[in-house]
């Protein structure tokens, strides 16, 4: 619960510092997916800790010294919000001035994410994909019989009538909103990462309220695995297609007759890839955790 509030709080921090795109992501991840994952993991590992804290005084001293040294270091930093800080004087100025004409979309965050730094983003999508593979290897390769002791918290909310009725009405809207965020990412805050996480949050909510089995019947893990890989493939594929048009990898300018339209198409393509991978990845991770917790209950 506290983690959820913390996530929401940091999201509002980000809004106040004009980072709407980031706030979006943090709200969905920090307040939605992360606490749920934590809860599921906690049901497996047990709720209480036994050992007392170890040498807190020495640790406190160490932390205090490190913090003091870092504060000493900040004395030379540029003031908060100062427009001539080094961070704003190099490549960022170019992004702000030229991206509206070069890329032709209003949301600069999207144009930097999906065009200027498309390679970087490709790497990050691959990291998400790899993380899913890791989680799946770790959690689904175990022999079912090895899992001891009970408790299945994933489905503890099944009895709540009001929650179920309200969420039944809400989930389609959340899904719709995710699609809006996905395809409106060029004009307002949004894009593949946010949409993917929101979409996944809706499915995870469904799984929590109606049981994992029903969610897995609606959206099959095998299809999700394919989708997670397909998203990465789509992203990389757009890059290969731009190769074939005779320009650099992930340079979309010749995807259409007019470079600006070409960039538009390219960005739409890779954002779709990102959205699919992220959504499939998050749902798969949750399935893996919830399935692991449920498997223990069955074993008993």
């Amino acid at each position: 619960m506290l983690a959820g509030i913390y996530g929401l709080l940091s999201a509002s921090f980000f809004v106040s510092m004009d980072a709407v795109d980031v706030a979006f992501t943090e709200a969905a991840v920090g307040a939605g997916v992360f606490p749920l994952l934590m809860l599921t993991a906690l049901t497996v590992t047990g709720r209480f800790e036994q050992t007392a804290h170890r040498r807190p005084r020495a640790a406190f001293f160490l932390v205090l010294v490190t913090g003091a040294l870092m504060i000493l270091g900040t004395l030379d930093m540029p003031a908060f919000g100062s427009p001539d800080a080094p961070a704003h004087t190099h490549v960022a100025a170019r992004y702000i001035q030229l991206s509206p004409t070069e890329i032709g979309i209003p949301n600069m965050v999207t144009s930097v994410l999906a065009d200027y730094r498309a390679f970087d983003t490709l790497g990050e999508v691959v990291v998400v994909f790899t993380a899913v593979v890791g989680v799946l290897i770790l959690l689904t390769s175990v022999d079912q019989r090895q899992r001891p002791s009970p408790a299945n918290a994933v489905e503890t909310m099944r009895g709540h009538m009001i929650l179920r009725v309200v969420s039944k009405m809400l989930i389609p809207l959340i899904l719709l909103f995710a699609l809006y965020v996905q395809f409106h990412g060029e004009y307002g805050p949004g894009g593949g990462f946010q949409a993917g996480v929101i979409f996944a949050a809706a499915i995870i909510l469904y799984a929590m309220l109606f049981g994992l089995a029903k969610a897995e019947a609606a959206i099959k893990p095998s299809i999700l695995r394919l989708l997670a890989a397909f998203g990465v493939l789509l992203y990389g594929g757009v890059g290969v297609v731009s190769f074939l048009t005779g320009v650099n990898y992930l340079d979309y300018s010749r995807l259409a007759a007019d470079p600006v339209t070409g960039r538009h198409i390219g960005i739409l393509g890779i954002e779709l890839g990102v959205g699919i991978t992220v959504a499939a990845a998050m749902i798969l991770i949750f399935y893996a955790f919830a399935g692991y917790a449920a498997g223990r209950a069955e074993a008993e």
Binding site: Y6, S10, F13, F14, M17, D18, A19, V20, V22, T25, E26, V29, V33, F34, L37, M38, A41, L42, T45, E49, H53, R54, A59, T66, G67, M70, I71, T74, M77, A79, F80, G81, S82, P83, A87, H88, Y95, I96, M108, V109, V112, L113, D120, T121, E124, V128, V132, V135, L138, L139, V142, P189, G191, F193, G196, V278, M282, I285, A288, F289
Partner: protein, 116 residues
């Protein structure tokens, strides 16, 4: 001059809270929560560096000439999603440790390792 640096100090305080939790707590899950707080402090650091006084969100709009720096936003946007994915891997590892050792307390884990 000093009050202008408060954003860094908030970040440092958060970071040190996370650091302290990682050092002191013996429970692996709590260590992960500490790491998460540490991570968020870095996010806030980046975003606060990207803030320009009087600037607006970096979405093209009429009548706005000063925008925040979009670059840190991009970096952190992806970092958040990557962060949750790696956090999931870490949690999965903890779950498997619980499965193999029956505990997630650091000291008990070390005792068992020594006994073997």
């Amino acid at each position: 001059m000093l009050p202008e640096l408060y954003n860094y100090w908030v970040v440092i305080v958060l970071m040190m809270i996370g650091f302290y939790i990682v050092i002191v707590q013996g429970n692996l899950i709590k260590k992960l929560i500490g790491l998460n707080i540490f991570q968020t402090s870095v996010f806030i650091f980046y975003i606060s560096v990207g803030k320009v006084a009087g600037g607006s969100a970096p979405i093209l709009a009429e009548g706005v000439s000063v925008y925040s720096n979009p670059l840190p936003h991009v970096l952190i946007l992806t970092a958040i999603v990557v962060g949750i994915a790696t956090m999931a891997v870490a949690l999965a590892l903890v779950v498997r440790i619980k499965n193999a050792y029956g505990t997630v307390e650091e000291e008990e884990l070390q005792e068992r390792d020594l006994r073997c």
